[in-house]
Symmetry: C2
Subunit: 215 residues, 2 copies
DNA sequence: GTCTATACCCTGATAGAC
DNA sequence: GTCTATCAGGGTATAGAC
C-alpha cells in the first residue's frame, strides 16, 4: 500500500480553481489559495513558481480534462446525429463535477488570453477543436448543413456556461427581491438543460425537415 | 452656442468601460481610468466617490441603455414572430456601438454581483426582464411554446455575447499559430450572426411545424 | 521539501492649497 | 471644481533556517 503524497499540488489546484473562479485572475489572492489548499505560500511558490504559473497550470488541467472527454467522443463509434447530444451531456457532466469551470471559462474569454503562454492557450483551444471533430461526420452527412463548427460550438455551450455561471447572480437578485422570480416562474437547471437540448435538436436538424421562418 | 462641459463624468465612464472590460473589477486601475478620461484621480473620486461607485455607475449606464432599447421593442407594435428578431438586432446593434459590453457582461456574471447594490442589480436584471416581455405575446400565441423565458434569454444572447467577447482570444490563438483557423475555415462576425439567427428561428419555431429529433 | 518572517512595490484613497 | 503630493494597507514574491 503506497503512502499517500503529503504535498499534493492537486490540492493547491483545487483551491486555486475556487479562488480564481470566484475572484478572477487579478482578484485572486495567493494567500487565500495557500490557506484553502492547506499549504503555506512558500510551498505554493515552490511548486508553481508564480501566481501566473499557478493560473496556467490550473487552466491546462481544467481545459485539458474537458477536451479529453470530448476527444473521446470525437473518435468514438456514435452515429452523426447522436454525437452532439453526447457532447452536450459530457459538457454538462463536467460542469457538475467541476462547479468552478463555467466561471473560469467566462473570465478567461473576457481576459482575452492575457496571462496565457502558447501551451496553455493550446489546451484551451483544444475544446472547440474537439467539438468541431465531433460534428464533422454530421456536417459531411448534411445533418448540420451550412452551420460553421465554431458557430455550433458557441450556440451549444454558451447558453449552458452562462446559465450555470449566473446562478450566484440570480440567487442574489432573488434574495434582494429584485423581481422575485426574475422572469415568470422559477426555473431549475434540469428544466433549463431540457430547453437547451430541445432547442439544439431543432436548430441543427437537417434543413429539409424544418419549416423555414424566412426564405 | 453653449460651451461644452469641461468636466465630463461621461468621458470618465467611457474610459472606465474600456478598463473594466479589459481587466475586470479587481484588475482595473483607477489611475488608468483617470488618465484615459483626461482627469486626475482626485476629480474622479470627486465625481464617483470610490472605485466601486464608479463601477456601479458604469453598469447602471450600460445595462440601463440596453434594457431601454429592449423595453421599447416590448411595448412596440411588432407581431409576435418578429419580436425575437428585433430583440436580437437591437442587441447586436448595441454591441457594435459599445464594444466593451460583452466583456463586462461576462465578467459581471462570473463575479456574481459581488460589487453591486440593489439599484445597480435592478438595472442588470432589467435586461432579461425586458427580453421576457418581448417574448410574452409569442408565448401566449404558442409560437415559443414550452420554452421558459429565461431559457430563451440565455439561448439567444449567450452565443452572441461569448462569440464577440472571445474575439481577442481567438485573435491571439490565430496569431500564435494555434490551429491557424481554429476550427476549419475562418468565420466573420456577420456569418456567425447569420448562423445564430437561423438557429434561433428553428429552435423557437412552433412545435407543430418542426420535426422532432427525439420523442 | 517545509516553514517563518520580511522586503518591497503597487494602488485606492485623501489632505489641503488654489 | 481642480490639482499635487502623499499615506496607509495589502499584495506578490523571496531569503534563509531547518
Amino acid at each position: 500500500m503506497p503512502r499517500p503524497a503529503r504535498v499534493s499540488p492537486d490540492r493547491i489546484l483545487d483551491a486555486a480553481a475556487l479562488e480564481f473562479a470566484a475572484r478572477g485572475y487579478a482578484g485572486a489572492r495567493v494567500d487565500h489559495i495557500a490557506r484553502r489548499g492547506r499549504v503555506n505560500k512558500a510551498m505554493l511558490y515552490y511548486h508553481f513558481g508564480s501566481k501566473q504559473g499557478l493560473y496556467r497550470a490550473l487552466l491546462r488541467r481544467t481545459f485539458g480534462a474537458i477536451a479529453a472527454d470530448l476527444q473521446a467522443i470525437a473518435s468514438g463509434p456514435l452515429d452523426p446525429a447522436s454525437r452532439l447530444d453526447a457532447a452536450v451531456s459530457a459538457f454538462v457532466r463536467h460542469i457538475e463535477t467541476h462547479a468552478h469551470f463555467p466561471s473560469i471559462m467566462l473570465r478567461e474569454v473576457a481576459e482575452g488570453g492575457t496571462h496565457l503562454d502558447a501551451d496553455t492557450m493550446a489546451a484551451v483551444a483544444a475544446v472547440p477543436q474537439a467539438f468541431a471533430a465531433i460534428l464533422k461526420p454530421g456536417v459531411e452527412d448534411g445533418v448540420f448543413d451550412g452551420v460553421h463548427p465554431l458557430s455550433a460550438y458557441f450556440i451549444t455551450i454558451a447558453p449552458i456556461v452562462m446559465f450555470v455561471a449566473s446562478a450566484p447572480l440570480r440567487a442574489q437578485a432573488a434574495q434582494r427581491r429584485i423581481s422575485p422570480t426574475v422572469v415568470g416562474r422559477r426555473i431549475s437547471t434540469d428544466a433549463f438543460m431540457a430547453d437547451v437540448k430541445r432547442a439544439l435538436q431543432r436548430a441543427f436538424a437537417a434543413r429539409s425537415s424544418v419549416h423555414q421562418g424566412r426564405s
